[in-house]
């Protein structure tokens, strides 16, 4: 709509409008986190007195209180890290393998398989959650991380991205050359294909890690023991506790605690992540 106002405007004014809108959006994106970080440095008493934009000095105290509290936050962090890391590794390794199978070989079911994966790509995990939970119960895998990690091996979206990347970045002549040198197929895959796919794998690893780290729906249905809970479940628990009894400083610290790892990863890798999103569009 702003575009309309810019009709006939010169470059200068248009640039000013663009910057103004961008600055507004940056503000909208960062403001909440600024308040979060400021409030995490304030004591409960200071917080009840109203908002002040200046950080205080209670960060460490809040941190200690959280650690001494009843929520198993360290466990939660470790659990989340285990699940997210293993999911990311397994998902990317086997998705690359699946993509390679479809990309490099000719077999009868190849087309059918590819079409099938594309068709099921958009089906949300929630609609099979009922059967999934029943299966997990039957296999006695409740309170285990297996049902949160192993299913990530079959990740159609990751597969699709890697397949697209392979199409333009993995010359089959290299595979041929390896065969002539007597390399076995699995060896070729591990030693030649995987290294060539590194950039795409890294991007997908990050995405799988983040979505697993943030996942709440399925883990909440499977993990019941306090020691096994992941961070999103602890956040939900914090929400359902009568929060007024709580020390609000601790609540803020807990939120910081659960989003900080992802923010740190993002700060280092933002360029390849944003590039990965762009490449994952509907080009193919």
């Amino acid at each position: 709509m702003k575009k309309k106002k810019a009709k006939g405007l010169g470059i200068g004014p248009r640039r000013v409008i663009a910057y103004a809108v961008l600055v507004l959006m940056v503000f909208l994106c960062l403001f909440w986190f600024y308040v979060l970080f400021v409030n995490s440095t304030r004591s409960n008493g200071e917080l009840t007195r109203g908002f002040s934009p200046v950080p205080s000095d209670n960060f460490v105290t809040n941190w200690k209180n959280l650690m001494a509290g009843t929520l198993p936050v360290w466990n939660g962090l470790i659990n989340s890290a285990i699940v997210a890391c293993l999911s990311a590794i397994l998902s990317t390794y086997f998705s690359t393998m699946t993509a390679y199978a479809i990309h490099a070989y000719n077999f009868r079911l190849k087309k059918a398989m590819f079409t099938f994966i594309l068709m099921v790509m958009m089906i949300p995990t929630q609609v099979t959650a009922l059967g999934f939970v029943q299966l997990v119960t039957k296999l006695k895998l409740e309170d285990s991380f297996v049902p949160l990690i192993v299913p990530s091996i079959a990740a159609p979206v990751t597969f699709y991205y890697l397949k697209q990347y392979m199409q333009s970045n993995l010359p089959l002549s290299l595979v041929e050359a390896a065969r002539i040198d007597g390399s076995g197929e699995l060896h070729t895959f591990n030693m030649i294909v995987l290294p060539l796919m590194k950039p795409a794998i890294a991007v997908q690893m990050i995405f799988t890690f983040v979505s697993s780290w943030n996942n709440y729906f399925i883990p909440a249905l499977i993990l019941h023991a306090d020691k096994k809970k992941t961070l999103p479940i602890l956040i939900a628990q914090l929400r359902s506790a009568d929060f007024l009894k709580f020390d609000m400083g601790q609540v803020y610290i807990m939120i910081v605690f659960s989003i900080l790892p992802v923010i740190v990863v993002y700060l280092f890798l933002s360029r390849s992540i944003v590039g990965g999103v762009a490449a994952g569009g509907v080009k193919g």
Partner: protein, 304 residues
């Protein structure tokens, strides 16, 4: 696609195609396909817990579907989900189109675009439940937002954001907007950069303004990507769960006006009403299935 690799050799290697597919197929069948079938199977049975007694499973045919569709609840929750999705999606697509056009406009030569892109994509990676928890504390009756708005003189007394239907829905829509507009911007921008620049140059030579170029060239050529973005966002919208669940503590308050379909499903799953949960899942499966078929058709025709 790999063009006919030399046939003779290929033949002996091709069994490896199947071998490499085994992990995917096994895991998919065990953890997705079997659960899908048992979910469908469950939807035809009466199977729930009433107090301590277990009712069923008794085969009841389509009774669960009938019950689901005749009770008004499903319709209310569907309406809630759609309202909140639209409230988030409309600003999202407008802002994303604008930002995408600006980022990809070579005349404008914006600076710091990497910084802007990095910042607007950031909320997408934030844990939705933590983000919702943050908004819950920020917008609580005695929380920082009320304190700020009073200090600025915008409000006289605290506004109960979470006790009012439309303010709660607006908060949820706003969170969804913040989490997804960066992603959409980057997708649309990639699409816009893919448009042949000769088209823009030709239009400029003919004296078209930037507005005309946007409406007459950019938008029509972006149509496939716009449809893709819209349908994936709709599928995502139907799955809306973490944000309203945490923000309202699973109650969908005020007056169930923010209860979404998946929150409803989650309720049935937790109360172990498998029949109803099954029927609801199947309905959701059908809707998302139809929507993804549309995407599939589109990306397919783009390919050929």
């Amino acid at each position: 696609m790999n063009q006919k690799t030399n046939n003779k050799k290929a033949v002996s290697y091709n069994k490896w195609g199947y071998i490499f597919l085994i992990p995917f197929v096994v895991v998919y069948v065990v953890f997705q396909l079997i659960p899908l079938f048992t979910t469908i199977y469950n939807s035809f049975f009466e199977h729930y817990r009433s107090g301590l007694t277990q009712i069923g499973p008794n085969f009841v045919g389509f009774d669960n579907y009938k019950a689901l569709l005749s009770q008004g609840d499903l319709l209310i929750y569907f309406k809630n989900t759609m309202i909140m999705w639209i409230m988030g999606f409309v600003p999202q697509i407008i802002v994303s189109l604008l930002l995408g056009a600006w980022f990809s406009d070579p005349q404008l030569r914006l600076k710091f675009t990497n910084f802007f892109k990095t910042v607007i994509y950031l909320p997408n990676l934030i844990m939705a439940s933590a983000f919702a928890m943050l908004f819950f504390t920020l917008f609580s009756d005695s929380g920082p937002m009320n304190s700020i708005l009073i200090n600025l003189g915008i409000l006289d007394q605290p506004f109960k954001f979470l006790s009012n239907t439309w303010s709660t829905r607006t908060l949820i829509a706003m969170m969804n907007f913040l989490m997804w507009f960066g992603n959409t911007t980057i997708l649309l921008m990639a699409g816009m950069l893919g448009i042949d620049t000769a088209l823009f140059e030709a239009a400029e030579v003919d004296g078209a303004t930037s507005t005309q170029i946007f409406y007459k060239i950019t938008l029509p050529l972006l149509r496939p990507i716009l449809i893709y973005v819209m349908i994936t966002s709709l599928i995502g919208g139907l799955q809306m769960f973490d944000v309203p669940q945490i923000l309202t503590n699973g109650s969908g308050d005020p007056m169930r006006s923010t209860m979404t379909l998946i929150m409803y499903l989650n309720k049935h799953l937790f109360s172990k009403n498998y029949g109803m949960a099954g029927a609801l899942s199947v309905l959701l499966f059908i809707v998302t299935g139809v929507l993804s078929m549309i995407i599939f058709k589109f990306t397919k025709s783009e390919n050929d």
